[in-house]
C-alpha cells in the first residue's frame, strides 16, 4: 500500500507492505536509523518517536496508521552539536547516555513528558519514563537531565 507520512518536516511517500511497522518504515525505507529496536514486546521504548505531538512506540504503530500524520524522530530534533534541542543538550551536560542505544527513544519520550508537564517532579519523571529502558546509566543522570531541561525549553516541539 501507499503511505504518505510527514517525517521531520518532510513529506515521505512510499509503497510498503501492509504489515510494515512504523519503526521499519523509518529505519529501512527512509534510512533513519537513529530510532532503535530493543524488544519485541513493547517494553523498552528504544523506538519512541513523536507522532502528532504525542510520544509513541514506533514498533507498535503500523506505517499505515501513520499515514497522513506528522512524525518526529531524533534526526529531526537538533541536527548538530551547535544546534541541539534543550533536551539533547541537557542529556549531554548531565552525561545521561553511555552506549547511546536507548538515547534517541529516551530523548523523544523525555521531550514529550516535559511538553505535557513543564513543572515535572523527580517522581513524575521516574514514573513517566518507566516504559523506556536503559541498561547503562542506572537512570540517575537521565532523571537529572530531564529535570534540568524541564526548566529550559526541554518540552518544546
Amino acid at each position: 500500500m501507499k503511505v504518505s507520512i510527514e517525517v521531520n518536516g518532510k513529506k515521505e511517500e512510499h509503497d510498503v507492505e501492509d504489515r510494515t511497522l512504523l519503526v521499519f518504515f523509518l529505519r529501512e525505507t527512509l534510512g533513519l536509523t537513529g530510532t532503535n529496536i530493543g524488544c519485541d514486546t513493547t517494553n523498552c521504548g528504544a523506538c519512541t518517536v513523536i507522532m502528532n505531538g504525542e510520544s509513541v512506540k514506533s514498533c507498535t504503530v503500523l506505517a499505515a496508521q501513520a499515514d497522513g500524520q506528522k512524525v518526529l524522530t531524533i534526526e529531526g530534533l537538533g541536527t548538530s552539536q551547535d544546534d541541539m534541542h534543550p533536551m539533547q543538550e541537557a542529556f549531554r551536560q548531565n552525561h545521561a547516555l553511555q552506549c547511546g542505544y536507548c538515547t534517541p527513544g529516551m530523548v523523544m519520550a523525555a521531550v514529550s513528558l516535559v511538553h505535557d508537564n513543564p513543572n515535572i517532579t523527580e517522581a513524575e519523571v521516574r514514573e513517566g519514563l518507566e516504559g523506556n529502558l536503559c541498561r547503562c546509566t542506572g537512570y540517575h543522570n537521565i532523571v537529572k537531565a530531564v529535570l534540568a531541561a524541564a526548566g529550559s525549553g526541554g518540552g518544546d516541539l
Binding site: 532503535n36 530493543g38 549531554r92 542506572g138 537512570y139
Partner: protein, 757 residues
C-alpha cells in the same frame, strides 16, 4: 593545569544525541541476504527429523541449512579445564540441550521473509528428561553428554577439614542461590559478513572484543587471521555477555562464504533472552564461625555453578569467586570447593562482576546473619574484622594479593554520609510502633579484582602533519567513554586539545592488536598503553626539535599551552607539533605504538549502604536511599566514573530485588521476553548518593583501578541485607533473592506463624 580529574563532557555524545549511533544493524550491505534461526523449543530432546521442504519453497528463500550441511564440525569447549567431551555443534546435531539452541538457519532476501520461512521448518523431537537445576545435574541420572559420562564440566574441590569450625563459639550456615540473571544489553546481538573475491572476510559484530571475534572466526573457519577483518562500530552495551564468539556469528560468516553474498543477522529480544548467555547461577553452601565478641575465625564456601548446556565462561567463574572469597575481612581460616555442571538451560557467561558478586553476596549476607545471631550491630561486626589500612599489600588465605585499600575509611564514609545512628533510631521507632512499613538498613563492604588476568593491550598515538592526533586503541568501548578518556590522557601529555584528538577503535585492520573491554580492565591496560604511547611521542618530538634547534634534548621543553617545543629560556625559537609532524613525515611520522601488560591486577573497594522500606502487609520493598562509596584509585574523569557506578548500582539492585531468569520443571524459560523479565526501570530506583574516595594504586602509573563493576558487586548484598534487616525483629532470618513481594510476604508469615496455607 591538568585536564585529568576533570568532568570533561564526552566527545561521543553529539552524534548519539542528534542522529543516533551506528550499530551493526544500522549498516546495510549491498545485496545482503538475511538469516533467521530456527531455535529449539525443547530443553532436552533428540532430533528425529527436520523437514525443510516447505521453508525452501517459501518466497524469497535462498537457502535453508541444518547441521548436516555445516562442514565445520562439533567444537570442544574452548577452555581446557572443561570436560572436552562436552562438544557443541553450530547447529544442533542429533540432540538439543536448551530452549533457544539453533537447529536450522533460513536465508532469504528480506528479514521478514526469512522469519516467515523459519516458521515453516518442521522439526520432529523425541523429548528427553530435562536437567534444570544443578543438584539434579550433579546426580548424573540424566546425562547431557553421554560421551562425557558425567554432567560435571569442571571440578575445583580441595577437600574439607572436619575440624574446620573447632574453636568457634558461634557457627552460622545457610544455603544461598545466587540466581541467574539476564545481562540485557539494550542492543541485542547482531552480525553481518561479507567476503571479498579474494576470500577475505569482513565481519561486523556487536562485541566487546573485536580481536577475539577475529581469532574466533579464523579458528572456526580455518582461516589465516590476516584473512579476517572485524569491525565493531557502536555497540549498545555488553556487560560481559558480548565477549565470546557465538555460534550464530560464526554461521553468518560461513553462510556468506557458502552463498557468495553478504549475510546479515540480528536477533529479536525474545531470542536474545535465551540465546545470549546468562549471568550468575551459583548455588552456595555458606558457613561462618566466630566468637561471641564478633571475631570471624573461619569461613567456608562450597558452590555448585550452573554452566548451562555448554560449558563457557560462566562455568569457570567460581575461580573468580574463590579469588575474592574472604572479601575485605582478615579471616584466619577459609575453605572453598566448587563444581561446575551442565544443565538444560542457556549457557552462562560473564556478567557485570563475573564471579566476584557471588563471593561478595555470600560473605556479606552471612555476615549479617552472624551479627544477628550474636546480637551485634552489623557495622560493628564488619569493623572488627576488616583488613587494616597498614596491612597492604595483603595476601589472603587463597593467595590473592590485594594492592592497596582503606576499608575502614570506606565504611566510615558510608555510615557518616547516611547518618547511621539516626537511621537506626528511626528504625527502632518504627519497630516499637509496630508500623506496617518497616525500615531496613543494609550494608556491604566489598573488594573486587579488576584486570584480573593481565594481558597485553595495544595503544598508539600519532601526531599528523596538520597538528591533529589519531589514537588507536585495542580496547573496545560500548558506553564507557574511551574516546573522551583516551583523548584526555593524550591531551595531558601533548598539550593538544581533545577536540583535535581522534580515537579509533573497533576495526582490526586499523588497530593491529587488541584484547578488548571487559573485567574493568580498559583504563589500567589500554589507557596506560595510550598514555605510554603519548609519552613516547613527546620524547620523539623532543629529540627531533633538539636536532632542528641544534640543542641538547635535555634542554628542550614542551610548552603545552603553546603546543610547541623550545629550548628552556628561549621560547622565541621553537617548533610546533605541526612543524615537527611535517618534519617527521619522511621518517615514518611522529608516532609511537605500545603493547602494555600490567604487572598485576588491582583491587577496587568500597562500602554501600541501602535504606529500604518494606511493607509487612504486602511484602513490597521500596528502596529509599543508596549511599555508595566506591574507591577505584585515581579518577581520570569523575563524570564517566560516576556513570559507571550508577549503571552498576542499578544492575546490582535489580538482581537483589527484581530480576531473575526462571525455568519451569521441563526447562522452558518463563522469562524469555521483556514483558516477563523484570528489567529494572527508573520507577524502581532512587537517585544515588555517591561519595568520592580515591586511593591511588601503585600498580600502574595512572594510579587507576577499574570502576565498571564495583557498583554491581557492592549493591546487591547491601539491598539484600536491607530487606532482611527490615524484618529481622519479626524473626525472619533470611529472604531469598530476588526479594519479590511474594517471597518477603511468605518469609514474614512463616516467621510470625501465620503461614497456615
Amino acid at each position: 593545569m591538568s585536564i585529568l580529574g576533570n568532568r570533561v563532557l564526552r566527545k561521543e555524545d553529539p552524534k548519539f544525541l542528534t542522529v543516533g549511533g551506528t550499530y551493526v544493524d544500522d549498516i546495510g550491505l549491498a545485496g545482503a541476504l538475511h538469516v533467521a534461526y530456527v531455535r529449539s523449543t525443547f530443553a532436552h530432546a533428540r532430533i528425529l527429523s527436520i523437514d525443510t521442504e516447505e521453508a525452501r519453497k517459501a518466497p524469497g528463500v535462498v537457502a535453508v541449512y541444518t547441521a548436516a550441511d555445516v562442514d565445520l564440525g562439533p567444537r570442544p569447549p574452548e577452555m581446557p579445564m572443561f570436560n572436552q567431551a562436552m562438544t557443541r555443534s553450530l547447529l544442533a546435531d542429533d540432540t538439543v540441550r536448551f530452549v533457544g539452541e539453533c537447529v536450522a538457519a533460513v536465508v532469504a532476501d528480506t528479514r521478514a521473509r526469512a522469519v516467515d520461512a523459519a516458521e515453516l521448518v518442521q522439526i520432529d523431537y523425541d523429548p528427553l528428561p530435562a536437567v534444570v537445576d544443578v543438584e539434579t545435574a550433579l546426580r548424573d541420572e540424566t546425562l547431557l553428554f553421554p560421551a562425557a559420562g558425567t554432567n560435571l564440566a569442571m571440578d575445583m574441590t580441595f577437600g574439607t577439614d572436619e575440624h574446620f569450625m573447632d574453636g568457634c563459639e558461634v557457627v552460622v550456615r545457610h544455603q544461598f542461590l545466587n540466581h541467574r540473571v539476564a545481562p540485557c544489553p539494550l542492543e541485542v546481538r547482531a552480525a553481518s559478513a561479507e567476503w571479498s573475491p579474494e576470500g577475505r572476510l569482513t565481519q561486523y559484530s556487536s562485541t566487546q572484543a573485536p580481536h577475539g571475534v577475529k581469532s574466533g572466526l579464523a579458528g572456526a573457519l580455518a582461516l589465516d587471521e590476516a584473512q579476517v577483518r572485524v569491525l565493531s562500530p557502536d555497540v549498545g552495551g555488553g556487560f560481559g555477555a558480548k565477549m565470546g564468539t557465538y555460534p550464530e556469528e560464526l554461521l553468518v560468516a560461513w553462510m556468506a562464504r557458502r552463498l557468495g553474498r553478504p549475510v546479515r543477522w540480528v536477533e529479536t529480544r525474545s531470542e536474545s533472552m535465551v540465546g545470549l548467555g546468562h549471568g550468575r547461577g551459583q548455588l552456595q553452601e555458606v558457613e561462618i564461625g566466630g566468637s561471641r565478641d564478633g571475631r570471624i575465625l573461619a569461613y567456608r564456601l562450597n558452590v555448585i555453578q550452573d554452566g548451562g548446556a555448554y560449558p563457557a565462561i560462566g562455568a569457570v567463574l567460581p575461580f573468580m569467586t574463590r579469588t575474592m572469597l574472604s572479601g575485605v575481612y582478615d579471616i584466619p581460616k577459609v575453605e572453598f570447593n566448587s563444581r561446575s555442571v551442565v544443565t538444560n538451560t542457556t549457557p552462562t557467561v560473564a556478567y557485570r562482576g563475573a564471579g566476584r558478586p557471588e563471593a561478595t553476596a555470600a560473605i556479606e549476607r552471612v555476615l549479617d546473619m552472624f551479627a544477628a545471631e550474636i546480637g551485634m550491630d552489623p557495622a560493628e561486626v564488619r569493623r572488627r574484622n576488616l583488613i587494616q589500612k597498614d596491612a597492604f599489600p595483603f595476601t589472603t588465605p587463597t593467595g590473592t594479593v590485594y594492592d592497596i585499600g582503606d576499608y575502614v575509611r570506606a565504611l566510615d564514609l558510608a555510615l557518616e554520609a547516611a547518618d547511621y545512628p539516626a537511621l537506626r533510631a528511626a528504625q527502632k521507632q518504627r519497630r516499637e510502633s509496630g508500623a506496617t512499613k518497616q525500615l531496613g538498613i543494609g550494608l556491604s563492604v566489598y573488594v573486587e579484582i579488576t584486570n584480573g588476568m593481565p594481558s597485553s593491550e595495544f595503544g598508539a598515538v600519532e601526531v599528523r602533519p596538520d597538528g591533529t592526533v589519531v589514537v588507536r586503541t585495542g580496547t573496545s568501548p560500548h558506553g564507557q567513554g574511551h574516546v573522551t578518556a583516551w583523548a584526555m590522557l593524550v591531551s595531558e601529555q601533548l598539550g593538544i586539545p581533545i577536540e583535535s584528538i581522534e580515537v579509533v577503535h573497533g576495526d582490526t585492520d586499523v588497530v593491529p592488536r587488541g584484547v578488548g573491554t571487559f573485567g574493568s580492565r580498559s583504563l589500567q591496560a589500554g589507557g596506560v598503553a595510550v598514555n605510554q604511547a603519548a609519552t613516547a611521542v613527546v620524547e620523539r618530538a623532543r629529540q627531533l626539535a633538539a636536532d632542528l634547534l641544534e640543542a641538547n634534548p635535555d634542554d628542550v621543553i614542551l610548552d603545552k599551552v603553546g603546543q610547541r617545543f623550545h629550548v628552556q629560556g628561549t621560547p622565541a625559537a621553537g617548533r610546533s607539533w605541526k612543524e615537527l609532524a611535517a618534519e617527521a613525515e619522511s621518517q615514518g611520522g611522529l608516532t609511537a605504538e605500545v603493547d602494555f601488560t600490567a604487572p598485576g591486577p588491582t583491587f577496587p573497594f568500597g562500602a554501600h549502604l541501602v535504606v529500604a522500606e518494606v511493607d509487612t502487609e504486602t511484602g513490597l520493598v521500596e528502596i529509599k536511599r543508596i549511599v555508595a562509596v566506591d574507591d577505584a584509585g585515581k579518577i581520570l574523569n569523575p563524570m564517566l566514573a560516576e556513570g559507571q557506578v550508577h549503571g552498576g548500582l542499578a544492575q546490582g539492585v535489580a538482581q537483589a530485588l527484581l530480576e531473575e531468569v526462571r525455568y519451569d520443571e521441563d526447562g522452558n524459560p518463563v522469562t524469555a521476553n521483556l514483558a516477563d523479565y523484570a528489567f529494572v526501570t527508573a520507577a524502581e530506583l532512587p537517585s544515588f548518593e555517591r561519595i568520592a574516595m580515591e586511593t591511588p594504586t601503585p600498580v600502574n602509573e595512572l594510579g587507576a583501578k577499574g570502576i565498571g563493576e564495583s557498583g554491581t558487586i557492592g549493591s546487591t548484598p547491601a539491598v539484600h541485607n536491607a530487606v532482611c534487616d527490615a524484618l529481622v525483629h519479626l524473626g525472619v532470618r533470611h529472604v531469598p533473592m530476588p526479594t519479590s513481594p511474594q517471597r518477603v510476604w511468605r518469609a514474614i508469615n512463616e516467621a510470625t506463624g501465620k503461614a497456615s496455607a
